[in-house]
Assembly symmetry: C2
Homo-oligomer: 235 residues x 2
């Protein structure tokens, strides 16, 4: 990047005098770059990573493949960028919640709500489904680290919740797996079933996580199996 500036003006004075066109160019380029990443995310979303060629992505943008390569280095980086766009909101959610004076369960709920919305968004699929098997070792490590950071964040909130009494005693690791799994899976069905908005889905899920299936109303009927028989007989 320095070399680009240095070559026309070795002394390095004129670039400082007229920075605006450079800036404009750079922003323009960045906008297009993001468009490429978004188009890739949409394509991966629809057809999966392996069933999407860079020609497909280029066609969606009404350009040709080399143009795509002008903005991203290769397909793997493209997936990685989509992944980053997907995780960033989740990391933000952790930061946002970090200093709230709330019991840990409520902080966890807030994170999970953001998490669910992130998974349902455009980049959700890429974030959830970026497989280390598809990536170079270096990328794989990087992605695993980011995923692990989130996982550990959830576990920590669960541990804190157990300590402060806002969460029932449980295995933090397994519980984190269960919660994240339920939310991750949204990426699989949300394309086909958009009957609820991402925010609504996240809210429903968090409610379920909190209370579980067991009825909480005091007037819960004890094991009355005959009722079921009756139901089946009526058909």
């Amino acid at each position: 990047m320095n070399s680009r500036r240095a070559s026309p003006h070795p002394a390095g004075k004129s670039p400082a005098a007229s920075p605006s066109p450079w800036r404009a160019r750079r922003r323009d380029r960045e906008v297009k770059r993001e468009a490429v990443i978004r188009a890739a995310a949409r394509a991966f979303n629809r057809k999966g990573y392996h069933n999407t060629s860079l020609d497909d992505i280029a066609a969606a943008l009404e350009v040709t493949k080399p143009t795509v390569y002008y903005y991203v280095t290769n397909k793997e980086h493209l997936l990685f960028q989509c992944f980053l766009a997907g995780v960033e909101p989740i990391r933000a959610a952790f930061r946002e919640v970090k200093d709230l004076e709330l019991p840990a369960r409520e902080r966890l709920n807030a994170v999970l709500r953001h998490y669910g919305e992130a998974v349902a968004c455009e980049f959700g699929w890429c974030m959830v489904r970026a497989e280390d098997q598809d990536l170079s070792p270096a990328m794989s490590r990087h992605i695993k680290a980011l995923k692990s950071e989130i996982d550990q964040g959830i576990r920590r909130l669960i541990r804190e919740g157990i300590q402060d009494g806002s969460i029932e005693s449980c295995d933090p690791k397994m519980t984190a797996f269960a919660l994240a799994g339920a939310l991750n899976w949204i990426a699989h069905w949300y394309r086909e079933d958009q009957s609820l908005t991402p925010a609504e889905i996240a809210a429903v899920f968090v409610t379920l996580f909190e209370g579980g299936l067991r009825p909480r109303s005091a007037a819960q009927v004890a094991t009355r199996a005959p009722l079921r028989r009756r139901v089946r007989i009526t058909r």
Copy 2:
């Protein structure tokens, strides 16, 4: 299959007189065929469908690619067979539970336990991750139908549970998505983390699904945020 028998003995008498060698052959073939499918499942498990070539699978069996093609028609069918091997235990679980005289929540729990164990098994990955995008339209329909059958089965149990009072009122569809999602996700992490057996995992998950995160002990401490501050200060 008839043509194979008919060609050596057009009259069709000798085959009935000596069925044993044919039977033995067929069983032998079937055993090998299953070995091919299991090897494929293991390979898909480790490297993913698209990163596994039929040469890989053949090498794992110490044969060559045409030999694999002698037992299965193509890669897609191979994935489909793995998928079937994965779902079958789950369908069996539904049948097993069908006529039990138990509240629906307990029947649901039993199904979910089997479901979890199935996902953690050898074919779990193939079942969970068989993407319609990777398959021909016909296969895709077939797989979707089987997945939908299971989904609908879970929803039905949830509805029955709400009716018989064993499950708290909720949205059956979303709840089914959440439960199945949490369990499906086991396929993603179980390879790397086998600290618990499939049965133990399933049990932990079902317990969580039942009770949720909110503490059930009467002596639950109300929102005491200061506790958390203390924790952070100590570091």
